[in-house]
Amino acid sequence: MPQPNTAKFRIEVFYKKSDPRGIAVRDKFISLGYSIKNVYLADNYLIDIDVDEKKIKSAAETLVQPVTQSYSINKPYNPENFDYCIEIGFLPGVTDNISHTVRESLEDFFKKKFDEEKSVFYTTSYFFKGEFDKDIIASIGKELYNPLIQRIKIYSKEQYASNNGMGFEIPVVHISESSGVDSVDLNLDDEALQLLGREGIANSDGTRRGPLALDMISMNVIKEYFHNEEKREPTDIELESIAQTWSEHCKHTIFAAAIDDDTPGGIYKSYIREATARIRKEKGDKDFCVSVFTDNSGGIDFDDDYIISDKVETHNSPSALDPFGGAITGIVGVNRDSIGFGMGAKPVANRFGFCFADPEDEVPVYKNKSEDSKLLSPRRIMEGVVHGVNAGGNTSGIPTPQGFIYFDEKYKGKPLVFVGTIGLMPKKTAGRSSVEKSALPGDNIIIVGGRVGRDGIHGATFSSEALSSGSPATAVQIGDPITQKKLSDAIVKEARDAGLYNSITDNGAGGLSCSVAEMAKECGGFVVDLENIPLKYHGLSPWQIWVSESQERMTLSVPDNKKDEFITLMNKRGVEATVIGKFTSSGRGIVNHKGKEIFNLKLDFLHDGLPKRNLFTEKNDSPVKFAVFREPEDHNEVFHKMISRLNVCSFEYISSQYDHEVQGNSVTKPLQGKGRVNSNVSVIRPLLSSSKGVVISQGLYPSYSEIDPYWMAACSIDTAVRNAISAGGSIDHLAILDNFCWCDSNNPFRLWQLKQAAKACYDFAVAYGTPYISGKDSMFNDFKGYDENFNEINISIPPTLLISSIGVMNDITKAVTIDFKIPGDLIYIIGNTGDETGGSEYNAFMGEKEQSEKFIGTNIPRVNAELSKKIYKAMETAINERLAASCISIERGGFAIAAAKSAAAGILGCEIKLSGIKDNDVQRNDILLYSESQGRFLVSVNPSNRDKFENIFKDLPCHLLGNVKKESSFIIEGISGKKIIDTDIREIDYNYKKKLKKY
């Protein structure tokens, strides 16, 4: 008789010949310095179902590739020789996609349903042969698993034999806590009330449930509301729900707060929203915005019949804890911002952006004063995050053409993981506007997709807190892209066009508590019966069900006469759909549980009760490390080192593992030219029957922030706009998105920086006429912990503003790539080059070279929007007349890096004379080479188009510098006419690609 919590069957699947995964694992550990001979793997399925024992053999055969694999049932796999076996499986309740698939396959095979909670579990066994003792194998184990989501078991060969394999235990969820509803007494003194807000509701044993992230002012407003208006104490579910709704994550309290006496409207209203409003007004008939700020994504016109949507999110804190889970949940989550935009936009492209510390930095950092609390190393975070977006994007069938990576040691405490999704939606579906959606009183509240577990509880309030040792592991989730793919297809490819619902939204932060309450704004109220919500496992408290952030769920508003048709369609597509209540017009939100009312709040209070804060800023001149150094003598050496720096070099290994060709919509690729060089802009063709394209890019300069946040933001906008122009975009049909990732945002100095950046956001968006259509902020990216000697440290990210751009181009056949095309072509630099190396990659390099620490400097680039706009218009004309054979926007690393990239991409040499850069007062070659002055392009032009091209730029800075060469030599002559860089494109290619190749 099997004991409780053990499976009846353990099926182990392993390779008959050499296991390719084993080789990969072995090679990885060897590269990390371990001495390993061999690794074998087994996939283990622990199956607890009541079926004929004879039939389990045929069922097992369906799990095996018979040509390459073999299997055993209830008999441990014994590879020829091994010293240790490490088995890794999930902790109870963690999303396990493989088990889900296997259960579905078994149900299909046996033609009966099995218990979703307890029937199938998956583990992997690694059999290691090599030279190691217990400690070494333990450290190998640590490298293989993440204790927040997984469990590990290590047996020596002897233990494996004596225990007859790794055993039959299965991680069934046991929750012993009460599933009732508690009333929370708010008759507390200030200190106790503050503690309640900070650490959460107390359990009966004195432990706390986790942060509500409600400050004293909010707690007092809540107390007043319940005591004066409701004349009772709140229930736990009410308090948790208010905390979710009022969280920084959902309400953006800092962006909404009045800031100083001169900006009572706050940052969002006064700078971001106001910029868009003004631009739209100024554009008049030519306004291309369709939906801004109000929905899950922002939307602009694609053509007369279609809308293109875009949204960029961050998933920083979860990615710090579980990089794979955090990143996959992030990308799959932002896909739902497309599916939940309007009546549902089909995701047509993903974006990514990662800010990490140097992956070679092995110096440990700890969350608290114990060895066990070590943060994952920058390398593990990078590997996990890169893999997470791979798994999420590729599996969902959404191309990922555009992204960036950026490195700085200040991201060591918290990485930044940006993820975005672009969607396509017809303007009209089922005979009505696709963007105007409204839940109607009497509509059914239906949730579709995944079930609810404890995962992701307090995700919204968690994001309002700095990362420290109290961070709840339940904030970690793992995405399930296939469940979401089924849901997505059923909605955007079928139910939407059949007109089966009145409104739809995503279940993201705050789970149902936010999505239902948010949709209820459209009609005025809701009643939910909590026991109808399908659960992953038993034992959840009502408040947990209500705020859980379990993934892959959408909430819809479905009228009675469409309800059956909707549910039937979902079920046919393998998607679970459940009616959980009704939308009303009562003005109140009500939640019942087993016949008892456990939540009854005024919607007005829930949505607008949050007291508005008034924040104050304070300017503080931060010390600047001056960058005083001489022009280097050996320019060749500096050049090759510059091109191999983390912030300049190739990330081909990421671009080629992210499918950017699926949907057949790729026009210009992430890797361009025969030389496969990363481009900072991509073009897609989201509708194969149209010749229009969508241009996507971005800009960010965290290294400028501490010098001058105003010009940092200006440069980010200029770069995002300029990059889009360089590929064929039009400034007349270009929108932008803002993602502010800040640090320590209660600090008046950080708020001053924020306000400066926001002011520039207004000024330059208006100057270019590029409206914001959507944005997001993440304000507390700080880490408090201990260094390698257990001394306290704080690591805050540099204030990071990501500006993403999205535009429409009329004719994709006019798109331009960065690679030099034909020998003999003329090379031009467009735009002015100034002495603007402050915060540049070059200063960082020279500082590290001369003083082992980055130089910063003061003279960061400024943006002359009036001139740049003229240049961008002219470039648009040149591209439209097909006069630019190649075009690259000059970004981080400056002119020399741009020239190197165009040459390496085209696998063609060139000869360039810096003396051709006229009308400027820069006297140093190194500054001409590496200054990051904005508003510049490097273009190659067919000599027979010379007059036409120069004529377009006749009153603008446009300098002929040299030629593309057939030979592989790459030559730059300095101001005085001396060759200062004389190298070969093969050497450039090698140095450009070597840094991240091994990952």
Partner: protein, 269 residues
């Protein structure tokens, strides 16, 4: 002559159905996308079609091995219907994940009739990494595949984590001797890739990119012709465009991949 009817399967994580259907329509077929569950519910549907396509994607998330779970679903529910369909004068195409399904279903290689047993495998890439890149393939002249007729070589993208073709010795001998390899990976100069990365992107045995049935009516391929049917989908189109402009030539609309689909449509003419 009536247009042939093409059924493009979808569901459970298949994700290339729309562009694949678009390719067949562009080539002159009526193409319909049908969910596997609708096919299981109404098995007769297949009788109305001449071309059956298993498109690319991530059916069941590749869990338990790519293409396996979807092959099981077909076997458990549609074995007879598939058998009947392939016995008629019809065409069956599997692209990428669709090829993996055909292999696990026992439809490719198919040396002794359809019995539902796999005789080969598409294993993890030798790089153990998902590879999205453009490759060159040569078409085996003696291959009976209907889809690759009159093509010499193609520039075409691949995107997969498990495309490493493997078959036991006795099987590979039969595949080779019966000319069932329809595409092989090659270098720029036209010579065989000889397992060299990145020309052979996955380490495939004998540089195999595609195989077919002895009657040529069933073909599976790792490359994605639907992602290389238009000129502007190519990774080198901006360079070619520049050359064409200077030579005074028109910029083409189509690229190599379209022929795979037009061959299928022309088979019924």
């Amino acid at each position: 002559m009536a247009k042939p009817e093409t059924l493009v399967l979808t569901g459970y994580g298949i994700n290339c159905e729309e562009e694949t259907a678009f390719a067949f329509s562009t080539a002159g077929s009526n193409a319909r996308i049908i969910h596997i569950n609708d096919l299981i519910e109404n098995r007769k549907i297949l009788d109305n079609y001449q071309i059956l396509v298993f498109p690319g994607g991530f059916s069941y998330g590749d869990d338990t091995g790519s293409g396996k779970a979807l092959a099981n679903r077909m076997k458990n529910n549609l074995f007879e219907e598939i058998n009947k369909f392939t016995e008629r004068d019809t065409l069956t195409l599997g692209i990428c994940n669709g090829f993996q399904v055909l292999v696990n279903l026992g439809l490719l290689p198919i040396l002794n009739g359809f019995d539902g047993n796999a005789q080969a495998a598409l294993e993890y890439n030798a790089s153990f990494r998902y590879q999205c890149r453009w490759v060159d393939v040569m078409i085996e002249k003696d291959s009976p595949s209907v889809f690759t007729k009159n093509i010499e070589r193609m520039h075409i993208p691949v995107a997969h984590g498990e495309g490493n073709f493997y078959a036991p010795e006795e099987i590979i001998e039969k595949i080779e001797s019966q000319n069932l390899v329809s595409m092989r990976y090659i270098k720029d100069d036209g010579s065989r890739a000889n397992s060299e990365f990145p020309f052979n992107p996955n380490g495939s045995m004998n540089d195999i990119a595609s195989i077919c049935s002895p009657n040529g009516r069933i073909t599976g391929m790792m490359p994605h012709p639907e992602r290389g049917m238009f000129f502007t989908q190519r990774d080198d189109w901006t360079l070619l465009k520049e050359r064409y402009l200077r030579e005074g030539k028109d910029i083409p609309i189509f690229s190599d991949g379209i022929t795979i689909f037009s061959n299928a449509v022309n088979y019924f003419k």
